[in-house]
């Protein structure tokens, strides 16, 4: 896979979303990478609704086999979900299970008018009927399972996309 310029992809993603922003549009970032991205998009697009954050640890479908995530974060939805146009933001779209969990969690706060998904990269290998409305970079070929792709943010707030070998499951 060739090197991806996360900063450029982030600007592209903002331009893809911009024409569809309305006064009821609210962004919700999924911890951790998705939230960084959502913070950036929120400022870039001048979104009026306050930024939301979701940690899907309590909604994951692998809790029974993998247990609870070590340090779950607080989900914070600071706007009225009823009737809102919500854009879920994540760094990388993969199996779709995280998005499923985030959707379930979001609906426990109310009934949005519409929910869309925005991602920097779609790495393929979906296991659920989920698609991103806004995607800056769909990979032409799915990434192999043993590879991990995620957004990183350095101390200056600069984004990079990091490809690593996935850790083998410990149990």
């Amino acid at each position: 896979m060739k090197e991806l310029d996360a900063e450029a992809l982030c600007r592209q993603l903002a331009e893809l979303i911009r024409p569809h922003v309305t006064p009821t549009t609210a962004l919700v970032g999924i911890y951790t990478g998705g939230l960084w991205l959502a913070e950036r998009l929120h400022a870039e697009l001048g979104i009026a609704q306050p930024l939301g954050a979701i940690d899907v640890s309590f909604y994951r479908d692998d809790y029974g086999s993998k247990g609870l995530h070590a340090r779950p974060q607080k989900t914070d939805i600071p706007f009225n979900v009823d009737g809102a146009h919500v854009i879920l933001v994540d760094d990388v779209l993969y199996t779709g299970r995280t998005t499923r969990a985030a959707l379930n969690e979001l609906f426990d706060f109310g009934r949005p008018a519409a929910v869309e998904l925005a991602v920097l990269v779609d790495r393929g290998s979906r296991e659920l009927p989920i698609a991103a409305r806004y995607c800056a970079h769909p990979l032409p070929q799915p990434l192999p399972r043993e590879q991990n792709l995620e957004l990183q943010r350095d101390d200056d707030g600069h984004f990079t996309l990091k490809l690593t070998q996935a850790k083998p499951a410990t149990r």
């Binding site: 809790y63 993998k66 609870l68 779950p72 914070d76 426990d108 706060f109």
Partner: protein
Amino acid sequence: MRNPQLNQHGELQHLLTLDGLPRDILTAILDTAAPFTEVAEREVKKLPLLRGKSVFNLFFENSTRTRTTFEIAAKRLSADVVNLNINTSSAAKGESLLDTVDNLCAMQADMFVVRHAASGAPMLIAQHLQNTGRDHIHVVNAGDGRHAHPTQGLLDMYTIRHFKQDFTNLTVAIVGDVLHSRVARSQIAALTTLGVPEVRVIGPKTLLPTEVEKLGVRVFHDMHEGLKGVDVVMMLRLQNERMNGALLPTPQEYYKIWGLTAEKLALAKPDAIVMHPGPMNRGVEIDSAVADGAQAVILPQVTFGIAVRMAVMSMLGSH
């Protein structure tokens, strides 16, 4: 020997006591509890973690607050909750504790929340489950005799951390009937493990266990001395129901010497917080003006108790 509360992966298998529980596990429980506090503000106050699991509240001793908060915590995690008040059921007909447990296991229990007047009853159940190869069933001690009340200790630690952030620069005073208090034992164990440099116990000699200083605490028999400069005042309930014989003069006299009044609280730091595990005896161990005053965090303790119990149950139920 392995800590009987941990499984072979070092994860929490049962929660029986805070004594000997490693600091990283204590901290992990407190960290996990934090996001659960937010659930109470949602329209749908429910998370799917324990969906399809059955939690049995096994209360061999009366309790309102603890049983209710365990029940709310389990229900917010989507578990099915069965409340058994054993006072009025089979035990009264002579069934043994472990027979009761075996019967409930046959009803596909996944977790027992146990309160018992006998110290060690939850441990006995945990050992029985292990000896019979039922490692998927978890036990939470909701108070056993004078021994331990770990979730109360944990919610107290959560409350202290919430208001004081750091444990390592605090002076904490535990006041009153330490002798009969499982809460005090759990508090002392947790405070010591979390690195509180000075834990004081204050009370009359008749209500402090002999050699209590061996638990790593400073002992005071004078409220005015003991409360000087403390950051946290943890009041205990005077447990009349557990007392045999005359350990005290009258409640009025106890209040005069050991009751927390505004005047005595003024000896603590100006930003000191006042805690009480409930139920309170107003006018015995604590004055109403203090209990309802600006420094009291007694009701936040109750609210945090739900989140802490959710954290414990979700950590147990995940394996």
